[in-house]
């Protein structure tokens, strides 16, 4: 068959804000959405931006280079990084076991994973402190081998793993469930060992999801407050996290200082968000899905 070379008729591209639709209600729902978004999210966040722009970059830098603030930021970001890494490893393991293996009580275990989502952070905080305190059920055992968990950075780490775990599990779990068994079978028929199949066929497409889960757990850990402060001990320069320092500055009516720390943290969460979007864009190009 010959390919038609007839030029396709083109209209002058007309820009429309919205494609016409027969469904009603766009104006009112869109307007209401923008109104709520502005009142609840944009204006208050704008207030923070205004406040920190008054400080200027040099003002923010001044606050951040205060030794106590610097060490709090270092602790928040450093420990969160380690915790997110740990949560990703165990999260992957849990997701794999939950989707690939059948064992009694699987559904209950699956439901338990969401516990940190559902349990209020303050409750998680006092419970973790209790469990890992020197006289607590796990803390006492750790004490015997010379490890202090509660009231040290290790305590912060434990709390951050706790709240980060569901993110790590829930981002990879659906993708593991969607892996086409035939691909693994194809790999096996081509003579690959199980280990080679896992490394070369199964794992690579999961990398973006693992990275996304890691970034989410990291961002959550950096900002987390309630589940950490009870177990952390909150010793300045040792186990004091950045969000707590914001609260302290506020109680001292140092709004500028609080705003500066908040701006730094917000900046980091935006970078994380951006990273997640980049990962997903890359994943969509490379693997065709998010």
């Amino acid at each position: 068959m010959t390919v038609s070379t007839k030029p396709r008729w083109r209209a002058k591209p007309r820009w429309r804000f919205r494609q016409p639709s027969v469904l009603p209600g766009f104006g009112i729902t869109f307007g209401y959405t923008i109104l709520c978004l502005s009142l609840v999210v944009l204006i208050p966040l704008g207030a923070l931006v205004v406040r920190s722009s008054r400080l200027g970059l040099s003002g923010i830098w001044e606050v951040a280079s205060d030794p106590r603030v610097a060490s709090a930021l270092k602790i928040s970001f450093g420990v969160s990084l380690l915790a997110a890494l740990t949560a990703s490893v165990f999260g992957f393991l849990v997701a794999w076991v939950l989707t690939r293996y059948r064992f009694p009580g699987r559904r209950i275990v699956d439901a338990v994973v969401d516990l940190p989502f559902a349990l209020p952070t303050a409750v998680a905080g006092i419970a973790l402190a209790q469990v890992y305190a020197p006289n607590g059920i796990v803390g006492a055992q750790l004490e015997k081998i010379g490890i202090k968990a509660a009231y040290t950075p290790l305590g912060i780490f434990i709390a951050m793993v706790f709240i980060g775990l569901p993110f790590a599990v829930r981002t990879v779990q659906p993708l593991i469930a969607e892996i086409d068994k035939e691909v693994e079978e194809a790999s096996a028929t081509l003579g690959a060992s199980r280990r080679a199949t896992l490394w070369k066929v199964v794992l690579p497409p999961l990398i973006p999801a693992v990275l996304t889960g890691f970034a989410l757990a990291f961002a959550r850990g950096v900002g987390e407050y309630g589940s950490i402060i009870f177990i952390a001990g909150n010793l300045p320069y040792v186990s004091e996290i950045a969000p707590l320092l914001i609260v302290i500055k506020l109680s001292e009516y140092d709004y500028a200082g609080a705003a500066a720390i908040a701006t730094i943290m917000l900046g980091i969460s935006f970078l994380t968000l951006l990273a997640i979007n980049l990962i997903q864009a890359w994943s969509r190009r490379r693997f065709g899905y998010v």
Binding site: R8, R10, A11, R14, V22
Partner: protein, 353 residues
């Protein structure tokens, strides 16, 4: 065939419809008349604009330019609710949470109280429609409990319940398997013959359009290529596009002179060159417009490349110089082995200006 009704009054007319999505034109200055009571098939490849045309008639999409007339009245600005169209969606769009009876009664229940029939009347009409679609015992089932063909029939009954002035069907059999398609096709034709409902349906399947329609409108790239009875579009295709879309055809180099068309110096019977056309032309030949003959008396000569039999006829691919092999259909039953030299006589074909 000749199923056209004796009253050619126009039920729906579209004039100068243009529509673009983003920058691609979907419809370009499109005109079409739909006669009252006819079953019109909109046939075209995917992306030809046929579904968009159907949705514009229904009031589900809006043209950039042009008008839609219902019985002579401008309906372009009329909201979909007021158009009284029955639309059957490609994937049925049945309401999953409602029973079959509630689905069918939906349009009646949605009316304002003053115009709404009473409960008993609604029940009676739903019962009648269930009889019509042969699903009388299924009133309380849910869509998820029905087969694809049954869902399709419920969707049709739901559209008919509001007594629309036109029934619009978007790829009505697209999602069904072959046997169900055939049954439903016949059944739809029966329903149409019984109700006389003006009906437009969209399809990309030539057989479906040719079997079912009173008239077929062939669309390509947002333009109307031809509209006519199935016989008209098959016997006198208006363009090479229509010809190719309605079935296999091969192109043969030919010379037009004096109203005749010649291949290898021999005139082709039954083919008249369009007035004023002189010189080299392309002759489009259907597989059954070739006859196998003695090479010395033939228009074309070649060797058999392969042949296979299916449904009582033999399809032979004939190698003929460079380019694509000729496809020949033969009914006399003699088998030709690969490599066998044959001559081909052309007994018909089409030339377009």
């Amino acid at each position: 065939m000749g199923g056209t009704s004796g009253r050619p009054s126009t039920a729906i007319r579209v004039e100068g419809l243009s529509k673009t999505f983003d920058t691609a034109a979907v419809l370009h200055d499109f005109d079409l008349d739909v006669r009252a009571g006819e079953l019109l098939g909109l046939l075209g490849p995917s992306g030809s604009g046929k579904t968009t045309l159907l949705r514009i008639i229904a009031g589900l999409d809006f043209p950039d330019r042009g008008r839609v007339l219902f019985g002579g009245d401008d309906a372009t600005g009329l909201p979909v609710q007021k158009r009284a169209v029955g639309f059957v969606f490609q994937h049925y769009a049945l309401f999953k949470h409602m029973s079959v009876a509630d689905n069918i009664a939906y349009g009646l229940n949605a009316r304002k109280r003053a115009e709404r029939p009473d409960k008993a009347e609604i029940k009676r009409r739903v019962g009648d429609l269930l009889d019509l679609i042969k699903l009388s015992g299924f009133a309380d089932r849910y869509p998820s409990q029905l087969s694809g063909g049954q869902r399709q029939r419920v969707a049709l009954a739901r559209a008919l319940a509001v007594e629309p002035r036109v029934l619009l069907l978007d790829e009505p059999f697209g999602a069904l398997d072959a046997q169900v398609r055939k049954d439903l096709r016949r059944w739809l034709r029966e329903i149409h013959d019984r109700t006389g409902q003006t009906t437009i349906f969209v399809t990309h399947d030539q057989d479906e359009a040719l079997e079912l329609s009173d008239r077929v409108a062939v669309l390509d790239k947002g333009r109307l290529e031809q509209v006519g009875t199935p016989d008209e579009v098959q016997d006198n295709p208006a363009s090479a596009t229509v010809l190719k879309f309605l079935g296999d055809a091969v192109e043969v180099e030919a010379i037009a002179e004096g109203g005749q068309v010649r291949v290898d110096g021999r005139p082709v019977p039954g083919v008249v060159a369009p007035a004023g056309l002189i010189g080299p032309v392309k002759l489009h030949v259907r597989p059954w417009q070739f006859q196998l003959t003695d090479p010395s008396a033939a228009h074309l000569r070649g060797t058999v490349r392969s042949s296979h039999r299916s449904q009582g006829r033999q399809r032979i691919e004939v190698e003929h110089g460079p380019g694509r092999p000729l496809l020949v259909e033969d009914f006399d039953g003699e088998r030709y082995a690969a490599g066998h030299p044959v001559g081909l006589r052309i007994v018909g074909g089409y030339v377009f200006a």
